[in-house]
Symmetry: C2
Subunit: 317 residues, 2 copies
């Protein structure tokens, strides 16, 4: 079962899981019905509904469920704009998933998609495994609470959980409500031949991961024995640090000057202020010891996207 | 309004608040009706009820409420034994308090009684302001979530909150369900002329605070401007570190050899295991800068208790 099963990551994770012959069935749950091409795989059930509804979640996580990938969430700017919606989906929804897991005859494996948004305040130059969590958004607060609950439910043996703190994941196929959405926009649009507005200055630094590498990480987290996580189930993932300048240069290398020139600086002080509070560098020793890896570099991340669009253009022909 | 208003700390806090002429009314809310002597002060309303009931909490935190002291909780061993009760009281109850505060015309000041139980895992020799939270009990998990929510509700302007991480508070007048209850027992019982079983060895170290000093801390936290807390509203309090040996010697100094000999070592491996995971020393620079102080030493803490029992004996004559 995947929550957020219509989403950017959920969809790609589903595709990878369906390549495995030992996956007997896969439930894709999301508030939004998926609008793209369905998988056409009879193992898949697509369900749309509200994760904050106890009965819905209890029905979907049934006695045959062995693994839950809990990725569904109201993202940062969304949870900031509608506090109650964020609490309901991100906190109550996670509790519903945990309670449904707890009712199963054997504790299922649960991979929870958390976020670097759990960090905030006066951040050190490099975030590491022992950086304390002072989230400065409701989204980050709700993710941090989710992590704590997943560790505790795991300790109690109610679920076999693990939480991954994702960096910004690119390249999204379309904008979303996250303040980080521009990190996808400034790669996607120019390489598709369209102009893109960049709301932050060239020195702004983000921590990034390609969606393929995120799916690798989710699958690895799922495979690892719970005991590998030790006394708590939250894991900071490694990431590539890149400035906006680095990203523009990577677009230039992938798509030429023409592509790079489609990125137009259009400062947005609100977005700049948010981005300035983000982690700029990650040292994820614990995750690396467990086998998690960042992408090689920003060019590798851009290449993943180029391969994906070439593939989908070929498929459309 | 005080939640946990029948409790050890709540009762003493109420007594101190009632000394102030600017306190117009005081609601003492608790699941247990208070069984001792009432305050006999017409400003006081005592209410017993369930904090996990939204309507009850909403009724008590009404438009005239300017300050909430949220101390009520199911303690460590209690929340470990009954997981659902802990979640309901410690997490849902805190959310009910926050939501009731949010509905008021102006955000009230909220002091939340958190705990060093938010720490755990591989602890450093000295806990400080940047030690990350890896709680190893459901109680600690629920307190950590409460702290995160209080910071976020404060950031949003829904409440003007502050969370204090209490060390072990002694001397309780009677045992409770906390694993730490022996720290009170081995002072209280011998000084009252009764024998006391000590379940952990003499080298076990605890971090302690007298109840008077805790009440001082709560009142100071209430007085401080919210901006003094910076980007997050949680504060580690300073504490006195003392071994069981130190405590026995303090009892000897206060009550003589006769008293010290009433402490009988009666090892309990389960309690020993829990105590071995606790913080052994605190460096609370942030709190000290704001004016919070630990007791002078273990003798000072014992003296507080001796003064209290002498006073109540005098009162009874």
């Amino acid at each position: 079962m995947i929550t957020g099963g219509s989403g950017f990551i959920g969809r790609r994770l589903a595709g990878r899981l369906l390549q495995r012959t030992d996956v007997e069935r896969l439930t894709l749950f999301d508030v939004h019905p998926y609008r793209g091409t369905p998988f056409g795989d009879e193992r898949v059930t697509e369900v749309s509904g509200d994760i904050s509804d106890v009965a819905t979640v209890g029905r979907l996580i049934d006695a045959g469920t062995t693994s839950v990938f809990h990725l569904g969430a109201v993202v940062s700017a969304g949870a900031e704009a509608d506090f109650d919606l964020g609490m309901r989906v991100n906190l109550d929804g996670t509790r519903n998933v945990l309670e449904a897991c707890r009712k199963l005859p054997a504790p299922p494996r649960l991979v929870f998609g958390s976020s670097e948004a759990v960090y905030g305040g006066n951040l050190p130059a490099v975030i590491d495994d022992d950086t304390p969590l002072y989230p400065q958004t409701s989204y980050g607060t709700q993710k941090a609470c989710g992590e704590l609950l997943i560790s505790d439910y795991s300790r109690k043996g109610f679920v076999d959980g693990r939480s991954l703190r994702f960096p910004t994941i690119i390249v999204r196929p379309e904008p979303n409500l996250a303040a980080s959405t521009f990190t996808s926009t400034i790669v996607r649009e120019p390489l598709l031949g369209r102009t893109a507005a960049c709301p932050v200055n060239e020195n702004s630094v983000m921590t990034l991961m390609s969606v393929n590498r995120v799916v690798d990480s989710i699958l690895l987290a799922h495979e690892l024995d719970g005991s590998a996580f030790g006394t708590h189930r939250s894991l900071l993932l490694p990431a590539v640090s890149a400035s906006v300048r680095d990203m523009i240069e990577a677009v230039r290398r992938a798509g030429g000057n023409e592509a790079a020139q489609r990125i137009v600086m259009q400062p947005d002080p609100m977005i700049q202020r948010i981005v300035d509070t983000w982690p700029r560098a990650i040292s994820a020793a614990r995750a690396e010891k467990l086998g998690f890896q960042a992408d090689d570099d920003i060019d590798g991340i851009v290449a993943t996207f180029v391969a994906e669009i070439s593939h989908s253009r070929t498929a459309l022909r």
